[in-house]
């Protein structure tokens, strides 16, 4: 008996194993790797150990002595010969713009023509940035193996001269406001989707089966259409010289110069994303509503409740699990949405995903991209916990 139970468990484990392994390899491992990247950056520390060692003794206030210049200069020249200085310089450049050409240019010049006398004078002669304390501070900070700077960056913070945490200058504060906007737009999208989807799902759930089938098809066809096709269709409809504006002008509701700006802004992002995500709201609602017996409403009516009363006290509470599932699904998906806001968001409709993509693909600052992603993940988890407190996740059903 006990043996056969173990047997059954083993079989179950074996059956689930392919999926578990797949998820571990393709999802959990990369996710963990990205999280590690957000705080761990050994590249600089591994490349210029001697310089960093020498800088560890330095007080950080006055310019370092000749010895440090010599060690650093020689190390840069040697690294450059192995073509490894570029990636170090790029990383230091993130802490202080201009460091890339300062380091590479100096290494190139000194490599061709090693100084006979003072390295300090030679380096300052090539680039006067070497006479600046902040240059050395940047190098020493870039050399931290485990660093909070990506998280500080992602929250628009920086470290001052003695390591205190300060706010970024105003013209470089970008991420916090983008995060706030991302959550705001996502909340708006969720709410609008819910308001649009609820009546449709009701109709689907309570129409006669033949008509419900047709209606369901109408919901699913856009769902099966390429996301890009749907997004570009919205451009055709909403743009300034688009179908809707043309129609409004022809009917005479708008004058030619009053055409509405419905796309390439936040409005465009919201409209297009609501459309893209609507099925994810309708389907959970529909599957829950189908399980609500119509007799409950009839019973409430027969006991004298008005339609509104019986809806509020009988139907709505029973549909809540679907509302919860749909809302959570739509909200979480819209927080990470990328292509639609990129195409129709213009100036004011961009989400945080655009910055994550920029740092992944363009600036190659994967540490910062990872930190932004981690903050997003953390906020979603927090939200989920609060949501769980309010709605109760055990009540959430997808059908």
């Amino acid at each position: 008996m006990a043996l056969s139970l173990t047997d059954k468990r083993l079989r179950a484990a074996l059956l689930a194993a392919p999926l578990v392994i797949f998820v571990a390899v393709t999802f959990l491992a990369p996710l963990a790797l990205m999280l590690v990247r957000s705080v761990y950056e050994p590249a600089v520390a591994d490349s210029i150990p001697a310089t960093l060692n020498a800088l560890a003794e330095w007080d950080g206030r006055d310019l370092p002595g000749e010895e440090i210049y010599r060690i650093a200069g020689m190390e840069f020249v040697a690294l450059n010969a192995e073509r490894r200085l570029g990636s170090v310089a790029t990383r230091v450049n993130r802490l202080q713009s201009g460091m890339r050409s300062t380091m590479l240019g100096t290494a190139r010049a000194l490599g061709n023509d090693p100084p006979a006398g003072s390295w300090r004078d030679a380096m300052i002669a090539v680039d006067e940035d070497w006479a600046d304390v902040s240059t050395w501070l940047a190098i020493s900070r870039a050399g931290e193996r485990i660093t909070p700077r990506h998280y500080l960056n992602a929250l628009d913070l920086d470290r001052g001269a003695v390591g205190e945490i300060v706010a970024q200058p105003e013209d470089r504060r970008i991420y916090v406001s983008l995060l706030v906007r991302t959550f705001g737009i996502s909340a708006a999208i969720t709410l609008i989707s819910l308001m649009l989807a609820y009546p449709v799902a009701w109709l689907l759930a309570h129409a006669p089966p033949s008509r419900a089938g047709v209606l369901l098809l109408l919901v699913l066809v856009p769902f099966w259409t390429s996301l890009l096709v749907r997004t570009t269709s919205w451009i055709v409809l909403l743009q300034n010289q688009g179908v809707i504006n043309d129609l409004l002008v022809v009917i005479g509701i708008l004058a030619e110069e009053q055409r509405l700006a419905m796309i390439y802004n936040m409005t465009g992002t919201i409209i297009a994303m609501v459309h893209v995500l609507l099925p994810f709201m309708i389907l959970p609602l529909y599957s829950i509503m189908r399980t609500i017996p119509p007799r409950h409403m009839q019973a409430a009516a027969s006991l004298g409740a008005s339609f509104w009363q019986s809806f509020r006290r009988v139907y709505w509470p029973q549909s809540l699990p679907g509302v919860a599932a749909g809302s959570l699904l739509v909200f979480i998906m819209s927080i990470g949405f990328y292509i639609t806001p990129a195409l129709v968001g213009g100036r004011t409709g961009q989400l945080i995903s655009s910055m994550i993509a920029y740092h992944m693909e363009q600036s190659l600052n994967w540490g910062l991209a990872a930190a932004l992603g981690a903050i997003l993940l953390l906020l979603v988890v927090l939200l989920y916990l609060i949501y769980n407190r309010l709605v109760g996740i055990d009540r959430m059903r997808l059908g």
């Binding site: 990369p30 570029g86 790029t90 450049n93 013209d171 983008l178 890009l228 100036r347 995903s353 693909e361």
Partner: protein, 378 residues
């Protein structure tokens, strides 16, 4: 046009349509990179930009190369950036052999040890016998690149929307009083900061010096401020001609080749303003550690000849970087029109042209991007 937009975005849209957050899908792509790398050992993979330019690359370089050598070449599209290449080189799993890359990226990739060196001595001599090292204008070739194409970001307008006076200078792009209407602009700081300063009266040779100062940057953004609420932003190169055709904007920044194609192949009433344009070069690079280094080098050699570079101009109005290639520019293959006057390198078009300073941008791109993003959201 629409379909072009689609291909340019297909890599991204795939990830999106599976509804994974971008971050996860990218890491997932890294994890899966090993699986797709097993494809044939002697098929060369060339990565370029797709769209009308990608077709020119296929017809001018790839097809003749296959014919001449019998080596299979597979073409893939990408959207720029070094991320995918870096992932391949760092994991030792290179399946992109040759990448068509803007010079700033090639220089950065070269510095970071992601690319093979391409010695000038390995490149063929020009059609006029000039050795390669003297045949490229100074500062246009990375030590890791062959090939060499010049493109320009220009201002273009829709003729039909200016029945009277026509805009003719870069200043007119910023002049909403004389030329009212919305402007298209790429949503990046690159080129736009230069445009702003040139239009604000900064001489060409002082543009990057001005941008080196905080006041200069403030001045550029202040100039952009003057048209901010009239700007419609674009991302993909196929968008601006579409926006002009739809009359969504009256004037826009664009790549000259895209506007040329719309003018010539689609008979669109567009005009290019050759004034204050910013020129950029691009080249062909080899991923470090590719197992197909030999045939990759053969391809670079093939595509770097004056004739091959000039062949691109039979299909699209981008100039060869090499002097000797420019001398060979003739006519558009499909329509027979003379290409000379449409090229960025044409003398008449070069009266006020700025060469993009990749060195400055390599140093300041991240910071400028932050400031630009802040400017956008304000």
């Amino acid at each position: 046009m629409r379909s072009e937009l689609q291909t340019r975005h297909s890599a991204r849209s795939e990830a999106e349509s599976q509804n994974l957050p971008t971050l996860t899908s990218l890491t997932l792509a890294l994890a899966l990179a090993g699986i797709s790398a097993a494809a044939g050992a002697q098929t060369l993979t060339l990565v370029s930009w797709g769209g009308s330019y990608g077709r020119s690359v296929e017809r001018a370089w790839v097809e003749p190369f296959i014919e001449a050598t019998g080596i299979e070449v597979q073409i893939e599209d990408y959207n720029g950036g070094l991320a995918q290449l870096r992932a391949q080189v760092e994991t030792g799993n290179v399946f992109w052999d040759i990448v068509d890359m803007p010079t700033p990226d090639a220089v950065r990739g070269c510095d970071e040890g992601l690319l093979e060196f391409v010695a000038a001595g390995d490149l063929p001599v020009g059609a006029d016998g000039a050795p390669a090292e003297k045949d490229y204008p100074p500062g246009t070739r990375s030590e890791c690149a062959g090939g060499g194409i010049v493109s320009a970001t220009i201002i273009a307008y829709n003729d039909e929307l200016f029945p009277g006076e026509k805009p003719s200078t870069l200043e007119d792009y910023f002049d909403l009083e004389r030329f009212p209407g919305r402007r298209g602009m790429r949503r990046v700081p690159v080129v736009n900061l230069e445009f702003a300063l040139i239009a604000d009266g900064v001489p060409l040779d002082a543009v990057y010096r001005t941008l080196d100062t905080d006041e200069g940057i403030a001045r550029a953004f202040a100039k952009l401020d003057t048209i901010k609420d009239q700007i419609v932003f674009w991302e993909a190169g196929a968008q601006p001609p579409q926006m002009l055709a739809d009359q969504e904007v009256v004037m826009t920044t664009a790549y000259n080749g895209r506007i040329f194609n719309a003018q010539i192949l689609e008979n669109q009433p567009f005009t290019i303003i050759w004034d204050g344009q910013v020129q950029e070069t691009s080249g062909l690079v080899i991923a470090l550690g590719t197992p197909r280094l030999d045939i990759a080098k053969r391809f670079i050699e093939f595509a770097s000849s004056s004739e091959s570079l000039a062949a691109i101009s039979k299909y699209i109005s981008y100039s060869p970087t090499r002097y000797s290639g420019n001398a060979l520019v003739s006519t558009h293959l499909d329509t027979g029109i003379e290409m000379g006057p449409h090229m960025p390198a044409a003398e008449r078009n070069m009266r006020r042209a700025l060469n993009s300073d990749w060195f400055w941008w390599a140093d300041n791109r991240d910071e400028m991007n932050e400031r630009f993003s802040v400017w956008l959201s304000r």
